[in-house]
Amino acid sequence: MSALAIDVHGLCKKFGTRQVVSGLDLQVPEGEICGFLGGNGSGKTTTIRMLCGLLKPDAGGGTCLGLDVITQSAEIRLQVGYMTQRFSFYGELTVEENLDFVARLYQLPNRTKVVADTMERMELANRADQFARDLSGGWKQRMALAACVMHRPKLLLLDEPTAGVDAKARREFWDLINDMAADGMTVLVSTHYMDEAERCKRVVYLSGGKLIVQGTAEDVVRDAKLIVFELTGDGIDKISKKLRGTPGVESATIFGQALRVVGLDRAALEGSIGAQGKQPGIVTEEVPARLDDVFIHFLHDRKVA
């Protein structure tokens, strides 16, 4: 295994009486794109903030790029690029002025050239003189990404970078992230989108401030040992309603043309689907589990527990 870009243990953080993160262990090898997943309020943002020194953990610790997250947060900041969830640049400054400001804070040599190159690479060049407040959502995110990679950080922390951005901009954004990872940058990116999670080599799933699972996407899917049946044909909406809550069925959800029925207990699952699946015009087949099945399964597990 290669060296770890992030290696923290037992991270805890409490806001008032609310335990937002409890006992989180997280390991991310260098050079990988790690998808940071979990529902709203599962502690993703808080964890990211602890990693880059914006919040002090109540307990636990570890290293980020080999530097102690508690005592060396100033050094960590120099080598980490953090893109906040909310756009946090200066609306009254132009794209170029914003980037120039950031470049000066990092004291980058050949500043003007670095800024110009970054804008070129991010295709921001023809918007250099536009005020940041006038950019559309997708361009704002692009500018924010440009600002946090300009100093060539070894680790990129992206907090829901594509929330509220259209599909095309999302795709382009991910192409940029992939390119950077190819250059050796480690990326931790939180997201709600499953298609984005599947682009990550590694996924970490958080729920209620606790780590539920981490590993490569394949490992996570395999280890969950989920059985998935896909039903297609007319009337699957009615079938899905009937199947919910029957023995062995954890979830029965329609995606497009197909009803995915997920469970752990093959016998019970087959029993429940039984007659429903044999209706005329309905085709039932077993399919491999996907990452989103796994996450819904974990959510289901927690509710049962």
Binding site: G53, L54, L55, T84, R86, S88, G91, Y106
Partner: protein, 375 residues
Amino acid sequence: MKGFSFRRFLAVLHKETLEMRRDKATIGLTVMLPLIQLFLFGYALNANPRHLPTGVLAAEESRYTRDLEAALNNTGYFDLRRFTSEQQADNALKRGEVLFVVNIPPGFTRDVDTGQHPSILMDADATDPTAIAQASAAVNALNGTAFQRDLPVALQNLAMSVPFQVMVHARYNPEAITALNVVPALIGVILSFSTVVITALSMTREREAGTMENLLSMPVRPLEVMMGKIMPYVGLGYVQVFLILAVAVAVFGVPVHGSIPLLLAVLGLFIACNLALGFTFSTIARTQMQAQQMAQFVLLPSMMLSGFIYPFAGMPLWARVIGEMLPLTHIIRICRGILLKGNGFADIAADVWPMAVFAAIATGVAVYSYRETLD
């Protein structure tokens, strides 16, 4: 959607009330601020000040000088102290340590005894005409009775005559023009208002816009942020200074007896005080609204207790102690001193160091309370 809907109006009213009620800090300040100000200003302010510091320069000691001192004391307007040289008395007046100097001339006793009605010269610091108005009037009322017991029998019977005269010499502002008192002080007042409020908003604005989180995640130190944010406003402050000075001289006829470079240098220190204070508010306050209220919390007492509106000497000791802690108090004395009295650095040094201490403490607090994390 047409016309005025009472229900929609109530909906907005309700929502605003909910928001207001949840902003505890604002409620606290709205309740506390008027109370504090009422008590503070109600007890502290006095347009008819008594116990004004007064120096006595006596060329001779006699029963008459003792009588005169007793009589001045009895008016309640003067707190006397003795000076031994003219130089000492002059400096004290110049530096605002005393508001009056009573000069008892040589041969005073003899002249009284021989019925020559000698004159006593009373130098008054007229930079603040209100402060000395009542006291000057009281002096003129006392000369008929002061020496009654000690006068030679022959003179006691001359009821119509007065044994001596008091000439009040209004220094620095002989015509008692209020504008000459107010305008130099306004330099400080206007600067306070513009600089404290603007900087008080500077960090809270970043926090509300969300740019704070980003700033914190980048390698920049608190002092760098503070200095960088403050400096442009120092420039803005100086623009104001030049404007006010130009109008003060050209329109209000304020004289310039002292050194303008000295004034500008000291004003720099004063601006630094205000900006550091504003920045401190900015780091403590959570919202721009709170920051503004905090600024007001200092600005109003500054106006009232600095000697800008009401004579400083007329306030009770506790209020003067508070006043001495405010930079505005010192800069007002300095502005009046340099412009009207021609004060040099030695004369204003006593007002410069408290501002330097204030600036240092405020900067310290600001840097200390600047949070490098979001905790």
